[in-house]
């Protein structure tokens, strides 16, 4: 009897050990998200002070650097990773056995001759202990759901870093273009001023050129702000502050590739890799586990076993017993029904999410195809066409058929096409990153982050000529 009791207790203790390490969770997240996590991702106190981070920031950054920094530094992501500890704690808790209850009675009688009577009483909730593995199982499902949720956050953070980096690249290139336009307009303004001073053109011409220049200056100032704004968005994603914000961009946005592959079974791939669906599946399993637990609890009588010992002076008297609560009136029907309803509701949401993901896949694919087409059209056709217009205007200028103001107008039109080309390129790379995030398992908005400001090439040129 004693031996078998010990065996049961040991078995129950074994069930309670089904907890995992942090590293185990992180490994699992790496597998799901396809994104490497630094081994000590949760150790650092302030990653900005970290030597490796400093090393990355010293050299000009590319999009992959931005992703690495964001994975290590993004505070929301770190919070999400830490929140895994909540579920892990719940698993641990679920595996713990109920504590035995021990009661000691000391009784003395009026007769001093009589010895002190000692009575010991120990009680253990057997049914509760027997259900521990089921509780652990439910908590493990919840932990798994949390891992998928965290993996989704990893994918999303990587995407946000990428998109923000592309935007910062584009903002820098746009500003460079605007500065060239401003230079050209300054030259046109100076020419107009000199022509006016020499008496060769009416004041209208100089006024027109000055107005165009000053407007372009305001636009350039806006683009400067846009550049600063895009860098700040990136700083928030990368978790950078202070002098860690003085980094530079390695290169302009890459050219658009000739072909932009889109997987054949796009919808299926998106569904299969979705962390949202996987998380919901885990939650469904957890609820199913709760339903089972609740049913079992309702059907299984509450059994409490106890042992007691009594000493009446010389001898010990031993005994055992059990108390059973019969499930006659309360068989947990209400709780079970509530869990079942929760399951059904979540199942509906699961299917809705799947529909949304399929749609998001098609949407991302459309975005990418369109952005690819536009980026190629701008890069391969429109910008060269505008460059040709400018080149021919220059030849006509050399042939004294058009004046300097027409030349500047043609240049502004070319620069305006270059601005649009930069926008198209940024949209392409952002759409590419969004589709990749989706295929890795996370829906992202895919919308381009900042807005564009033109340089006003369509505004009229100098009056008169």
């Amino acid at each position: 009897m004693r031996a078998s009791l010990i065996a049961i207790v040991l078995a129950l203790l074994g069930a309670g050990c089904a907890t995992t390490s942090i590293r185990g969770d992180l490994d699992r997240i790496e597998t799901i998200s396809g994104q490497a996590l630094p081994p000590d991702v949760l150790d650092q106190v302030d990653p900005v002070g970290d030597a490796r981070v400093r090393e990355i920031l010293r050299a000009p950054l590319d999009a992959d650097d931005a992703v690495r920094l964001a994975i290590a530094n993004h505070r929301e992501l770190r919070a999400a990773l830490r929140e895994l500890g909540i579920e892990r704690g719940r698993v641990l808790q679920a595996g713990l056995l109920p504590n035995p209850e021990i009661e000691i009675d000391l009784r003395s009688q009026d007769d001093p001759e009589q010895p002190l009577q000692v009575e010991l009483y120990a009680e253990f909730e057997l049914t509760h202990a027997l259900l521990t593995p089921m509780r652990v199982d439910v908590a493990s499902r919840e932990l798994d759901a949390a891992r998928f949720r965290a993996a989704g956050r990893v994918i999303e953070t990587a995407y946000l870093a990428r998109a923000a980096f592309y935007d910062a690249q584009a903002a820098e290139q746009r500003l460079a273009v605007a500065v060239r336009a401003l230079d050209a307009l300054a030259a046109a303004r100076d020419t107009a001023t000199m022509l006016f001073d020499a008496g060769n053109v009416p004041e209208l011409d100089v006024a027109t050129q000055i107005a165009a220049y000053e407007e372009a200056r305001a636009v350039t100032a806006e683009l400067e702000l846009a550049r600063a704004g895009s860098r700040e968005r990136l700083h928030r994603v990368l978790g950078l502050h202070g002098d860690a914000t003085e980094w530079s961009i390695a290169a302009p946005l890459d050219d658009v590739p000739e072909e932009s592959a889109i997987p054949e079974a796009l919808e299926r791939d998106a569904i299969e890799s979705s962390t949202e669906l996987a998380e919901t599946r885990m939650r469904l399993e957890a609820i199913a586990g709760r339903v089972g637990l609740s049913r079992t609890e309702g059907w299984l009588p509450d059994v409490t076993v106890d042992v007691h010992a009594e000493q009446d002076g010389q001898t010990w008297e031993m005994g055992g017993g059990a108390s059973i609560e019969l499930p006659i009136f309360d068989r947990n029907e209400g709780t079970t029904a509530a869990y079942e309803a929760e399951f059904d509701a979540l199942m509906e949401r699961y299917e809705g999410t799947a529909i949304d993901i399929r749609s998001a896949a098609r949407d991302a694919c459309n975005r990418l195809a369109s952005a690819h087409l536009r980026a190629k059209q701008y890069e391969g056709v429109i910008v060269p066409a505008r460059a040709r217009v400018f080149r021919q205007t220059l030849l006509q200028y050399n042939a004294m058929q058009v004046g300097v103001f027409e030349l500047v107008t043609a240049l502004r039109a070319q620069l305006s096409a270059e601005l649009s080309a930069i926008d198209a390129l940024r949209e392409y790379w952002t759409a590419r990153a969004a589709l990749e995030a989706l295929l890795r398992g996370r829906r992202v908005s895919g919308a381009v982050v900042s807005s564009s400001t033109g340089i006003g090439a369509d505004q009229g040129s100098a009056g008169g000529h």
């Binding site: 273009v177 020419t191 302009p252 040709r388 042939a399 004294m400 058009v402 004046g403 030349l407 008169g464």
Partner: protein, 446 residues
């Protein structure tokens, strides 16, 4: 900007690093187009020496010379001079480096010069290879009304692909023209015109040694375009003698003491041309209406040739040399000048050049000291264009184009090279004033 400073600027521009990709695109583009675009180094054509004119009419009247052109060959059939004009589109060179699709006759614009003698009967077949109907009007000739060639009024137009025939007697001598009288606006603008010379049976006035025919015309050919714009009413930018702009014009080579006749005809769409000769004076002896009596002739150095008129001038040069002959409207001795750009005269643009070279490395300001020297600049310009171009002269660049040619007066015209320049006697060319001479003549430059 002079050439020296241009070279300095282009050097500075090459050194300026422009790192954006777009600048590379346009630079590559510029490179790719460099071969296609023309520069100033336009070739000056060379001309054959013309043999002595044969006698074309009684009294030793010499046959006419059509510089850059030809005369229509005749055959005689039963005492009638028979000729054939084919109207068609052709590729025409205005001057080396500038060609265009024009319309003309027998491969030429103006068409071949018709040359005959008073009293002859001619039969001219006209084949229409144009895309639209045409007619030929014999401008200034008095002939039967049904031969006058005005479409609708005197005849049906000649449909494309058909050959029609004109036949009439040459009742009066004179300097006449022929041209399309169907859709004249298009057809004359594109070159459907020519000269028609009828020598008198008995010479009128002093005997001439040389008899030239020059037809003036004006065209609008956008820089870099390949077909003249027949709808143009203003801004004609290619001005021609016998279809050629200088330096494409063939010089007129004559002898000292020779009596020279120049027959000028004008079928420009819109402009009269005051034709001016240097180094001599002349009298106008005839128009397309007939002869000017000797008593009415008066000396001139410029004759206005109105649109739709001919003017015949005669002179005897006494001074050997290379004498300019040109329309005196200054815009008519330019080729493809632009009129839409602000004048740069009097503007110091060195700072502008510096600024512009940052954004347009090839940029240079032009015209701030005037337009002289533009033709000499080695700059990329659109292909098939001759903006502001002239030619290298014996002393320096001749910055005239368009309706400009050279009357070369030589002691020995028969052996002179039509491509050569006059050799000036020592001390007869203007040069810099030396200080001692200035002082001696009391010219104070302070």
């Amino acid at each position: 900007m002079d050439r020296r400073s241009f070279l300095r600027w282009s050097g500075a521009a090459a050194g300026a690093a422009v790192l954006t990709r777009a600048a590379q695109v346009s630079a590559q583009d510029a490179h790719a187009h460099a071969e296609a675009s023309a520069t100033a180094a336009a070739a000056v054509p060379t001309f054959e020496r013309r043999p002595a004119s044969r006698v074309a009419a009684p009294g030793g009247q010499p046959a006419v010379i059509t510089p850059n052109g030809v005369s229509l060959p005749w055959t005689i059939r039963d005492g009638v001079k028979v000729g054939h004009l084919v109207a068609h589109e052709l590729d025409h060179e205005f001057a080396p480096g500038m060609r265009a699709r024009v319309w003309g006759y027998n491969g030429h614009t103006p068409g071949p010069t018709l040359e005959a003698v008073e009293g002859e009967r001619i039969r001219v077949y006209v084949t229409n290879r144009l895309p639209e109907p045409t007619t030929v009007h014999w401008h200034g000739l008095i002939l039967p009304n049904g031969m006058d060639g005005v479409s609708g009024l005197n005849q049906r137009p000649i449909p494309p692909g058909e050959t029609w025939v004109y036949e009439f007697d040459l009742r009066h001598p004179g300097t006449f023209m022929y041209h399309s009288h169907y859709d004249e606006m298009t057809q004359i603008a594109l070159g459907m015109a020519g000269m028609f010379i009828v020598h008198p049976r008995r010479p009128v006035g002093p005997r001439v040694d040389r008899d030239f025919v020059l037809m003036t015309h004006e065209w609008k050919l956008e820089v870099g375009a390949r077909r003249p714009d027949p709808n143009a009413m203003n801004d004609f930018n290619v001005l021609t003698f016998n279809g050629k702009s200088y330096p494409g014009t063939e010089p007129l080579l004559v002898g000292v003491g020779e009596r020279v006749r120049i027959r000028l005809g004008n079928l420009s769409p819109m402009d009269h041309h005051p034709i001016h000769l240097h180094g001599l004076n002349f009298v106008m002896t005839a128009t397309d209406g007939g002869y000017v009596s000797q008593s009415a002739q008066y000396p001139e150095t410029t004759v206005i040739v109105p649109v739709g008129s001919t003017r015949v001038i005669e002179f005897t040069p006494t001074e050997p040399g290379d004498w300019a002959m040109h329309c005196h409207m200054t815009h008519h001795v330019m080729t493809q000048m632009g009129h839409g750009l602000p004048p740069m005269v009097g503007v110091d643009t060195s700072t502008v050049d510096r600024r512009m070279s940052r954004v347009v490395p090839e940029y240079m300001s032009m015209g701030q000291t005037g337009m002289g020297g533009m033709g000499e600049m080695e700059m990329d310009i659109p292909p098939n264009s001759l903006p502001m171009r002239g030619a290298r002269g014996p002393f320096s660049y001749i910055d005239m184009g368009g309706m400009f040619t050279v009357l070369k007066v030589r002691e020995r015209p028969e052996s002179a090279d039509p491509n050569g320049w006059f050799e000036h006697p020592a001390g007869s060319v203007a040069g810099p004033a030396d200080a001692a001479r200035l002082r001696a003549d009391g010219i104070d430059l302070e």
